[in-house]
Assembly symmetry: C2
Homo-oligomer: 233 residues x 2
DNA sequence: CCTCAGCTTCTTGTCGACAAGTAAAATACA
DNA sequence: TGTATTTTACTTGTCGACAAGAAGCTGAGG
């Protein structure tokens, strides 16, 4: 086992938990660790060259977010995606799209629009590169920036949770387009920015709902198709 | 220090974290530990006759919910109530009141109404006993039961967080009535139950909004009064 | 009397080890 | 051969101890 040539063991005190948390979270959300993957504490401990204590702390946080399931005194693994109750997810994220976009149009301040536009530029770049993972990430950042401009931390927290959990589902959305979603998503984003800049709350609401419906509808069509295939078998 | 006569040190394995978490959480939300109270790990450790490891795990969870603030490498304490941004709290909880009540009217199934009515009975009992703490608790359970009948775990999670965080603020509401809130809260609750039972989504929405507005308005009046007093000084 | 460097002390973050509990393997038995 | 029971191996939960930072104290120098 001489494959870990002792990478700089100089870690900042207190950074261990966050590192493990972020890494594992990304692995889970990007489906590098698909649902059902077993999670072994000691394995992670030696992978990160760290004790089990900070690992456990990171796992506790992931468990709270519902990203991993932990059987008492038994194994812990990446949680399943609940396809049966997906409609509750769609319902909630649609509402959050609307509410955060409305609030952004109402409450944005100097500097907010620049941040939002920067994320939109990143999204456009990912779009043109046909990089699904980057699109999912930048899309998340774009809407998160809008939510921050809305300045309601409670909505922001729920929205972030939904967007992150949605990363696993959004993969399906982009896969359905073979990583080449319609260009309309770009114009939709830009229309939203215009409505926010104009402080047009009603229009921001309408656009956000349309944007959400477009994504949700596509995924639902996709799943309906899969379901029919299942039945056909 | 012979005041802890070694209470049955027989704890079930894995129950330590939950115990500490629940106890601390209640202490914080019921203002037994007011905002700003310092939290000392070793002190808690010997108070619960437990190691620091499970304590830390419980604290990590509380930190995630924003109930405690933890300065890196330094002390950790009960988080402040953010009175400046209280309106974001009111905004969010009003929306959740409406959404969960609507969904309950739409989606309730056999058995749900009995649970809701039971919690309402508990609330009425607490009301008649002028027990503010019990009213806050049973009111939370009442609305949580409605949210569960709505069957959207995302809304439920945010709503629970708001209701729990609201326990600290709701104290003000009840104190403003000298622990004797108007009887209208009882009838409001019962009207909501009737609307849900009738599957009258629109009416459930209206009633939920009115209920929320009544509570929010009272607290805002209270705070405006306090603010005027501050200025007067 | 004020300022700043060094020291002390306290709290947190991390570690390695042990104990408890569970699932699977091995064994005994019908 | 199939089933019940013990044993084993492995994972998690908990513990006590140590080390790193940070705030406050101490005291010398200006």
């Amino acid at each position: 086992m001489a494959n870990t040539p002792a990478p700089p063991p100089e870690r900042k005190r207190g950074s261990g938990v966050k590192m493990v948390y972020d890494l594992l979270r990304d692995d889970i959300l990007d489906l590098v660790m698909p649902p059902g993957s077993p999670i072994d504490e000691v394995q992670l401990a030696e992978r990160f060259a760290i004790s089990r204590t900070p690992i456990r702390e990171a796992l506790a946080r992931l468990a709270m977010e519902g990203l991993i399931d932990t059987l008492p005194n038994r194994s812990t693994m990446v949680s399943q995606i609940d396809f049966v109750n997906l409609h509750t997810f769609f319902d909630a994220i649609t509402l959050m799209y609307r509410v955060t976009t409305r609030l952004a149009a109402q409450n944005w301040r100097a500097g907010d629009l620049e941040v939002i536009r920067a994320h939109q530029a990143d999204y456009r770049a990912a779009f043109e590169a046909h990089d699904a993972l980057a699109m999912i990430g930048t899309n998340r950042d774009f809407h998160a920036a809008i939510a921050e401009a809305g300045r309601n931390p409670y909505y922001l927290a729920l929205f972030l949770r939904l967007l992150d959990e949605g990363r696993r589902i959004l993969r399906l959305y982009y896969q359905s387009f073979d990583d080449r979603p319609p260009a309309s998503v770009i114009t939709e984003h830009e229309d939203i920015i215009i409505a926010i800049a104009a402080r047009d709350v009603a229009r921001a609401d309408v656009l956000a709902k349309a944007h959400a419906d477009q994504i949700v509808g596509q995924i639902q069509r996709l799943m309906a198709r899969d379901q029919r295939q299942d039945i056909a078998l």
